[in-house]
């Protein structure tokens, strides 16, 4: 294991754990909020560590981005009063 990749995984897992505990502590009950925070953490850690991957394309990043976009779309729709 390379030091940089290990640090990347440890940082990702630590931040996911801390954010889950923090959001639970303030009484957050919306799963979309947790997932949105995870997505932001993932992209922030990927930008900081720039880990090399076995596959050239970041499929996880694309999937998380799509999920994030759907969550944002639902939020915007609810603010505008549109029923989806």
């Amino acid at each position: 294991m390379t030091f940089k990749n290990s640090l990347y995984i440890i940082s990702l897992a630590t931040l996911v754990g801390i954010s889950t505990v923090s959001l639970a502590a303030i009484g957050q009950t919306g799963l979309d909020v947790y997932v949105s925070v995870f997505v932001i953490i993932y992209f922030a850690m990927s930008a900081i560590f720039s880990p090399r991957r076995r596959v050239r394309f970041d499929f996880l990043g694309l999937a998380l981005f799509c999920i994030f976009a759907i969550i944002v779309a639902f939020r915007v729709a609810s603010i505008l009063g549109i029923q989806l």
Binding site: F3, Y8, I9, S19, F38, R52, R53, R54, D58, L64
Partner: protein, 240 residues
């Protein structure tokens, strides 16, 4: 399978069980989120490249190899600059003329015999396997398509000889910026003939990737760890 993949699969399985149980049985949102987080970290871990040999060990082996080559160069009192030759049986070799002759004379010569002492382009010289001669071959599984990708996997991931590399191409010239390079001290002959250890590995990787002869045109060091390396390819040269 490497450790990252084991860790990734374990986290993926753990996350799937926790999130499904928490969502359908316990109906707990924080625990469901924790499971989803574990799945995300698991997939991220599984996507990392496998490293069967610890990079610190690879770095030590490269440094030991450089020390051995230093002893050979000292013994033959070699004064020339190295010409990195295309891979033969997947291994890059380097020809170093004993006299201080221009690399171009050797680069335009015919096939260089694979012997310790040999003649090429009218020059007597030494042929050695540079420290990173086989490293690029071991990185093939990562499906690198560019020289920068290959060099990053060799110098940064596999051997930890540098923190980052950046390449600018200008025709047959490749300018490589190596940041936080780990240079082996007290190897004067090696540094003079083959370049510093990270530069030598970079030249070997370019010879491997482009299947052409390569020489180090210039190597400038800024501070302790930043190297600007200028490599020249000789694409029309004879394949080994």
């Amino acid at each position: 399978m490497a450790s990252y993949q084991h860790l990734g699969l374990a986290l993926l399985a753990f996350g799937a069980v926790v999130s499904a149980t928490s969502f359908f049985v316990l109906q707990s949102v924080p625990l469901t989120a924790l499971g989803l987080g574990a799945i995300m970290v698991g997939i991220a871990s599984a996507m990392l490249p496998p490293t069967s040999v610890p990079s610190s060990l690879v770095k030590e082996m490269l440094q030991n190899s450089a020390t051995n080559i230093e002893a050979i160069l000292e013994e033959f009192n070699v004064k020339g600059r190295a010409l990195y030759l295309p891979p033969r049986d997947g291994r890059v070799t380097a020809f170093i003329s004993i006299e201080d002759k221009p690399v171009l004379e050797v680069a335009s010569s015919g096939e260089v015999p694979l012997r310790v002492l040999s003649m090429a382009g009218g020059s007597r010289g030494v042929t050695v396997f540079p420290p990173g001669s086989e490293l690029p071959k071991s990185q093939d599984s990562y499906r690198e398509t560019t020289y920068e990708d290959l060099l990053r996997s060799v110098l940064v991931d596999a051997s930890e000889l540098a923190d980052s590399v950046k390449i600018t191409s200008q025709g047959d010239i490749e300018v490589v910026e190596i940041k936080s390079a780990k240079v082996v001290p007290r190897l004067p002959k090696f540094d003079a003939c083959l370049g510093s250890l990270p530069s030598s590995v970079a030249a070997s990787a370019l010879a491997y990737k482009t299947n052409s002869r390569v020489s180090i045109e210039g190597e400038e060091r800024y501070g302790d760890s930043r190297i600007i390396l200028t490599l020249r390819r000789y694409p029309g040269s004879v394949a080994e």
